[in-house]
Symmetry: C2
Subunit: 308 residues, 2 copies
């Protein structure tokens, strides 16, 4: 009988206010479930279940396939055969790291199944290669929290250096996913290529504030540091209702709210699950009124990352 | 008999690697000693002692005078008279926050002497106004650590929001001050007004890494995060011997080294006082060979800031 494993790879929120391209955290309950079996075909094959209709099953085009292939290439496992069956419980294109979940879950699962012995930092590198196959520049701000869990910082790409914050305060996340199409590749092109030094300095003040707030469990400081002067001013223009959502988060005494990744999902941080639940309800009303379909999620920060 | 107080206002290191315009820390033993007396002249008067030859004593031009005047204006103390006698144990223009020491020490001292009741955050604001009189844009990355002690972050100027890290690891600082003239105002003009997004992202990765390293007492992470892509590449060109100093710091297994403020002083972080002392010795050899006069200092991080 062939070996088999099923992993859950969480959805993730990247950028997280000021941390454009460097901050990210993992969610609970939302993400990909990937069943992986060893086969004797000598090839990687993929099938997709729920919410995978728009995803290519050709392993050379699928982010999970490309990621696993990169890992096989490095391991010298050219003749290995695996079959991946991917199920998603959230629609791709939400801005919640859907392709990162597939790529990360696949490499973490195959690494375990075939006992390849790669470290988390190495898996991040393979998952990044996979994610790059989805059309965007390889980046790690979704794959890192997906694989490591918790709140992560991509300090550097060359060499790759990902830090996982050892301890963060209790945070409950309210998420609304308005069903608007925002392509990450298009969204990236809208951003300025240069920023003035004054804006950059504001941004790094908030980054330093955010990290300090998280590590010292200072909700007020996290709240003050959530502003982003780089991506949100541009990306929020593509999300109808964004300003109302931010206003509601402020009025509800949420810690802060911002765009998840390149959108269209928006998240808010709350101190309790009850507050986060109430906040999603009010987020929903905004899109109800705009007559835009939406999904709501409430989650804590997932400390584990990919799990069996 | 008139009231009198003498305060010590420490020298400070600003920027500290990647934290251009936001990071700073206070030193021990180096700085200004300011003797302040209440007078019945209804005016601010200033005299200077050691190393104050180049400093204007006109209170409208002296950073300490301007800072105290700003505080008097806000307190409604228009008729108050104080005399400040300033002594420095380090030459101004070193890049170790000499004018910030004078401005901070003066407002902190007068605040205590006349029992004006201003908070540290308010004193930072007055000291900034004073420092601005020295020809540079008012900034807080020297006055904040001088007043608060420890390692500080200027998160925001509008509103002013300064964070003092609650705990940092033991750090010993090796400092060399080569006696070259570097005017902060000129040095600021040499910096680019815009930076590309890729550089900015690298910079905030290091800022996040530095704060995490300090708060989790991870010397390795502090070391990896010390690189600056914004100011050091430009400012180091004005400091002969800079590259040798950095090489020596690396060879000596120092945690890291960088320019203090806008230079010309260079500092290195070490884990022990013995290492820091050895490192300054080797720093000195570089300038000995270049036939440039220099001063050496070894200091811990001063947790107190301005003290009586």
């Amino acid at each position: 009988m062939s070996k088999q494993i099923t992993v859950f790879a969480p959805a993730t929120v990247a950028n997280v206010g000021p941390g454009f391209d460097i901050f990210g955290f993992a969610l609970e309950g939302i993400g990909d479930t990937i069943s992986i079996s060893e086969t004797d075909t000598g090839e990687i094959s993929i099938t997709g279940g729920k919410h995978c209709e728009s995803i290519p099953v050709d392993p050379k085009l699928n982010v999970a396939g490309v990621a696993v292939q990169a890992m096989f290439d490095e391991a010298g496992k050219t003749g290995a055969g695996v079959h991946l069956h991917i199920e998603k419980n959230i629609i791709p294109g939400s801005g919640l790291g859907s392709s990162a979940s597939s790529a990360s879950g696949a490499v973490a699962g195959v690494n375990m199944l075939l006992d390849l012995g790669f470290s988390s930092q190495e898996l991040i590198r393979f998952a990044m290669i996979g994610e790059g196959a989805g059309g965007s520049t390889p980046h790690a701000d979704n794959v890192a929290p997906c694989l490591l869990g918790g709140f992560t910082i991509v300090r550097s790409y060359d060499p790759l250096d990902v830090i996982r914050l050892p301890e963060i305060p209790e945070l409950h996340v309210a998420i609304v996913h308005p069903q608007l199409e925002v392509k990450t590749s298009v969204s990236k092109k809208m951003l300025k290529r240069e920023i003035d030094m004054k804006t950059a300095t504001l941004q790094w003040g908030n980054i330093a504030g955010m990290v300090t707030g998280l590590l010292t469990k200072d909700y007020e400081l996290i709240s003050r540091s959530m502003e982003d002067h780089v991506a949100v001013p541009v990306r929020s223009m593509m999300i109808p209702g964004y300003d109302s959502i931010i206003q509601i988060a402020q009025d509800s005494n949420a810690i802060g709210a911002s765009i998840s990744g390149s959108g269209p999902s928006i998240f808010g941080f709350c101190k309790t699950g009850t507050e986060a639940k109430m906040l999603t309800g009010r987020f929903g009303e905004v899109f109800e009124e705009l007559d835009i379909e939406y999904n709501l999620y409430v989650s804590k920060i997932n400390p584990k990352g990919v799990s069996v």
